[in-house]
């Protein structure tokens, strides 16, 4: 069973909830799919058993000993990445999209493509099972391919270790890396917060999960910061037939736990928050059994 935790809006508590789900009881494979800002490895300090290079996009580079300054590449580039700077053709690394057209059309073969090989995928063991995470090099296009690599590895590890449950901690937003995180999972859990921004982002996120026909659950985190808004979110979800898996109270212990590099289940197993996590997880995991029977 794969459970993906996403949120649309950042900072609603995805990682804290993923960490809690990953330390409930049985062994899990935990995959941090937020490759642009991976964090769970800080909390769980997994062993480094495997490191793989992820080949990202390419960037065009000019060899000025061969360039005749004809400017053909400037005309062909659709990303506005090539221009004349101080009388010389120049490629902006930031604007270059890596399409390679300039390199293909250059009459003097002065442009080559450099692979970016700074992104990594890591896999290892943590205290409650196996863990995989990716780290995208700054400035890379977050295309979702590194997320796919992380997910493939997670599935392989689950199979090899005979582990049933894969927890995927997703990235914020609704773009490609999010789509890569949720495609084909058994459950998507959207963590939201009772703010106008939270609701606004939730709506866009639900649009994505329904596009892919995924079993979607919503957790309203810190709901007591604005009860009225929390009710509005609940009504909205009810209207769409989306189940609320939990309404969690704001609890400063979650932050205290993080500072200690522990999940809330490890730090305060008797707390209200831990109880809420457990019941939400039970609801989601049992939902799987029910839907199978149907």
């Amino acid at each position: 069973m794969e459970i993906a935790i996403i949120s649309g809006k950042g900072g609603t508590g995805k990682s804290s909830i993923s960490a809690a789900f990953a330390t409930l009881s049985g062994k899990v494979v935990l995959a941090d799919c937020d490759v642009d800002a991976a964090n769970l490895f800080i909390m769980f300090n997994p062993t480094h058993e495997e490191e793989q290079v992820y080949m990202g996009g390419q960037k065009a580079v000019i060899d000025y000993s061969m360039c005749t300054n004809c400017g053909l590449c400037v005309d062909y580039c659709r990303f506005g990445a090539i221009s004349f700077l101080n009388g010389r053709v120049s490629i902006s690394e930031i604007l270059c999209d890596g399409c390679k057209l300039c390199s293909r059309i250059c009459p003097s073969e002065a442009i080559t493509m450099i692979d970016s090989d700074k992104s990594r995928m890591y896999a290892g063991t943590f205290r409650n099972g196996k863990m995989v995470y990716g780290r995208l090099a700054p400035g890379e296009e977050n295309s979702g391919k590194l997320v796919n690599m992380v997910r493939d590895k997670a599935k392989k590890m689950a199979k090899a270790e005979n582990i049933d449950t894969i927890i995927l901690d997703g990235p914020p937003g609704i773009g490609c890396p999010v789509i890569s995180t949720i495609t084909g999972v058994d459950h998507v859990v959207i963590v939201t917060e009772p703010t106008i921004s939270g609701l606004h982002d939730l709506k866009r996120t639900i649009e994505i999960t329904s596009k892919f026909n995924l079993k979607t659950w919503v957790i309203i985190n810190k709901y007591d910061l604005n009860n009225e808004m929390a009710n509005e979110i609940e009504l909205y979800c009810n209207g769409l037939g989306i189940s609320i898996a939990g309404k969690f109270t704001f609890n400063a212990q979650v932050v205290e736990a993080m500072v200690q590099c522990k999940s809330i289940m490890e730090y305060a197993p008797e707390s209200d928050f831990a109880t809420q996590i457990q019941s939400a997880y039970n609801m989601i995991a049992n939902g799987k059994i029910i839907s199978k029977r149907n």
């Binding site: 950042g10 642009d36 399409c99 057209l101 293909r104 977050n142 979702g144 937003g173 009772p194 910061l225």
Partner: protein, 294 residues
Amino acid sequence: MIKPSNIKIAVASGKGGTGKTLLSTNLFYVLQQQNCNITLVDCDAEEPNDRVFFKGTMLKSLEVTQKVPVIEESKCTFCGKCHEYCNYNAIFILPPVKIIKVIEDLCHGCGACSVACHYDAISEKDVLLGNVNCFSIAQQSTVIEANMKVGVYSPVSVIKEAIKEAGNSGIIILDSPPGTSCPFIQTVAVADYVILVTEPTPFGLSDLRQSVETLKTMNKTCGVIINRAGLGDNAIYEYLKQEHIALLMEIPFDKDIASYYSKGELFVKYKTEWEQPFISMFNSIVEKYGDSNN
């Protein structure tokens, strides 16, 4: 206060949900009250929220499109050259059974396939990626929103258009997307100064570090605002000292502030004692990085 004729300030953070939008919108409001010529650009195109905080009238809405190839099969010889030229694997071809398909989601609109085709079989159509919406909030104060269409894979094109729409005059605040990948780079690349918003937790610190390192490679100066100060630990303060990074402001964790935000309200309107810290912070940035001093 000092009024620069133009300055671009990006408000960014590696970690999502640290308070970029909270900061951007309240700073915008404070400066607007000082009768500055000011534009706020919401560059978080996947989940734009800034306009929730303002009542304004829409001035215009621009469509952002991308070119996508259309292959006329009657002219196609299935030579495979377009497939070879495409650096994004967006053209799928099976010559023996004469199948050729454009995978529009993977296409970046670079035009390489059109250049590759010698049989005039490829034309192009426009595909909608999102909108750039401009709102007038008051005299000389505008909010520009980058809004990616739900289901589109990358927000970068829409972000670029929104930044272009903001022009170069007056004070421009860029509310950046989270992370340090391509969308972040595109936003901070045009900024004169970057404000990084973080929270005093291990996750916040880890992501801050990544943002700072990325900005260093881009030769961008940054300062830090610590949001939800009081929750978490002190490691972040040590880091700032060690790296000689300016601590611009601290906003304590305060349920009132969270509650105003949740309702889509600007907290400086109600907690007016915060106006001055915002103005002082802005002055300190402009003194060093605004063009009024150049």
